[in-house]
C-alpha cells in the first residue's frame, strides 16, 4: 500500500483532491504515507484522526499536502471549518466520501477493500477519477506488480 501511494504521489499537483475510502486497517494512512514520501513531505505522515487535519510542508514545493481524516466530522460543513486552501494544496481526505460536494468537480476516488471474513490479508484497490482533471488518468500506468506488496 505504501508503494502504491508512492507511485500515485508523483501524479499529484496543486488543486488535486483525493477521497480515500476503506474500513479500519485497510491501509489508508499507509498509502498516504507513501504519497507523502513521493511528494518529499517534511515530518511523519501519521493518522490525523485526532487532529482532523494536518498540513505537511514539502522540501521542494510550496504546494503542501493536506491530510484530512473525516472520521469524526459530523457533517460536510465541518470540513469547511478547517478552511483548507484546496486550490493551492494537494488534499487527501480519509473517510471523505460525501464530504467533498461543492469543493471541486474534480477528484480522485480511491477505495481500499479488505477481505471481510478476516481470512486473508489481500486488498482490492479501486481508483475512479471524476471530472476533467482525471479524465485521462490511467491507473494501470502505475505499474503496480504483486511483488511490490511483498
Amino acid at each position: 500500500m505504501h508503494e502504491l501511494g508512492m507511485r500515485l504521489g508523483h501524479v499529484f499537483v496543486a488543486g488535486d483532491l483525493v477521497v480515500l475510502t476503506g474500513p479500519l486497517g485497510a491501509g489508508k494512512t499507509t498509502m498516504t504515507r507513501g504519497i507523502g514520501e513521493a511528494l518529499n513531505c517534511i515530518g511523519t505522515v501519521s493518522s490525523p484522526t485526532f487532529v482532523i487535519a494536518r498540513t505537511h510542508k514539502r522540501v521542494d514545493s510550496e504546494v503542501p499536502l493536506v491530510h484530512v481524516d473525516a472520521y469524526r466530522l459530523g457533517s460536510a460543513h465541518e470540513l469547511d471549518d478547517l478552511d483548507i486552501d484546496f486550490e493551492r494544496s494537494i488534499t487527501i481526505i480519509e473517510w471523505g466520501r460525501g464530504y467533498t460536494e461543492g469543493i471541486s468537480d474534480d477528484w480522485l476516488d480511491v477505495e481500499i477493500e479488505r477481505d471481510h471474513s478476516g481470512e486473508s490479508e489481500s486488498r482490492l484497490v479501486t481508483l475512479i477519477g471524476h471530472g476533467q482533471r482525471w479524465a485521462d488518468f490511467d491507473g494501470s500506468r502505475l505499474h503496480i506488480a504483486a511483488e511490490d506488496f511483498a
Binding site: 457533517s75 465541518e78 469547511d80 471549518d81 478547517l82 478552511d83 460536494e101 461543492g102
Partner: protein
C-alpha cells in the same frame, strides 16, 4: 465613548483605531490601522495588526474606550481568531466589548463611497463562503438598512430567490475595520449598539449531513 479599537477577521485581517470627533455629526476618523486582504493568515497577522494600529495612532490600550469586533459571517477559523483577540484584548485592557455584523460594514462603506439606490433597488452584499456559496445580506433605503439576511447560499440559487423582488446592486467594497468602527459609533449614538459578540456561523453542525440552511440574522 470617543475612541474604539475595531477588529475584523471575517475576510482578511483588519484592525483600526477609530475616533469620534468633538463636532456633532462629524465623521469618525481612522487614526491608525493595519489591513491585509489575505484570507488565510489571521493568527499570524492579528498581533502585529493590533500593535501596528495602536502605534500608528500613538496610543496605548488604556486610552481606548471600547473594543468592537466584526461577528462575521465569514470562514470560521479566521473569524474566530478576530473574536478571540477582541475578547482577550478587552479583558486585558478592561474595556467593554461590542459586536457588529461584518456585512453591515460593507454596506456602510458603499454608502460612504456615495452609493444611492433607486427606491425599489437593494444593495446585495455577498462574500465568499467557500464551496461556491456566499454569505449575503441586502440593504435598501437612504440609510442602507439591512432588509434580508445575513444568510449563506449558493450564489445562483440566491439570485434566483432575490431577483423577482426587484433590482439588485452588487457591493464591491470589502470589509475594513475602520468601517466596523464607524458602524459601531452610528449604532452607539442611536442607542442600538450590541454587546452580542457571538460568531455568525449560519451553518449549524449536525450529526447527520444536512443541506445548507438559510438562517436570517
Amino acid at each position: 465613548m470617543r475612541r474604539v479599537l475595531a477588529i475584523d477577521t471575517s475576510a482578511g485581517t483588519s484592525v483600526a483605531v477609530v475616533e469620534l470627533g468633538a463636532a456633532i455629526g462629524a465623521r469618525p476618523q481612522c487614526v491608525g490601522s493595519w489591513h491585509s486582504d489575505n484570507p488565510m493568515k489571521h493568527a499570524e497577522n492579528i498581533g502585529v495588526a493590533i500593535a501596528a494600529a495602536l502605534q500608528q495612532a500613538g496610543l496605548t490600550a488604556s486610552k481606548l474606550d471600547a473594543v468592537v469586533v466584526g461577528r462575521g459571517p465569514g470562514p470560521f477559523t479566521g473569524l474566530r481568531v478576530g473574536i478571540a483577540a477582541a475578547v482577550m484584548f478587552a479583558e486585558g485592557a478592561r474595556l467593554p466589548l461590542y459586536g457588529v455584523v461584518s456585512l453591515d460594514a460593507i454596506a456602510l462603506a458603499e454608502r460612504e463611497a456615495g452609493l444611492t439606490l433607486e427606491p425599489v433597488a437593494r444593495l446585495l452584499v455577498a462574500t465568499d463562503a467557500r464551496r461556491k456559496e456566499v454569505y449575503w445580506a441586502t440593504y435598501s433605503g437612504i440609510g442602507l438598512e439591512r432588509g434580508e439576511g445575513p444568510g449563506v447560499q449558493k450564489f445562483e440559487v440566491l439570485l434566483g430567490e432575490l431577483e423577482p423582488a426587484g433590482p439588485l446592486v452588487a457591493a464591491t467594497q470589502g470589509v475594513h475595520a475602520e468601517n466596523i468602527g464607524r458602524l459601531f459609533f452610528e449604532q452607539h449614538l442611536a442607542g442600538v449598539a450590541s454587546l452580542d459578540i457571538s460568531a455568525l456561523y449560519l451553518r449549524e453542525p449536525d450529526a447527520v449531513p444536512t443541506p445548507a440552511k438559510k438562517v436570517s440574522g
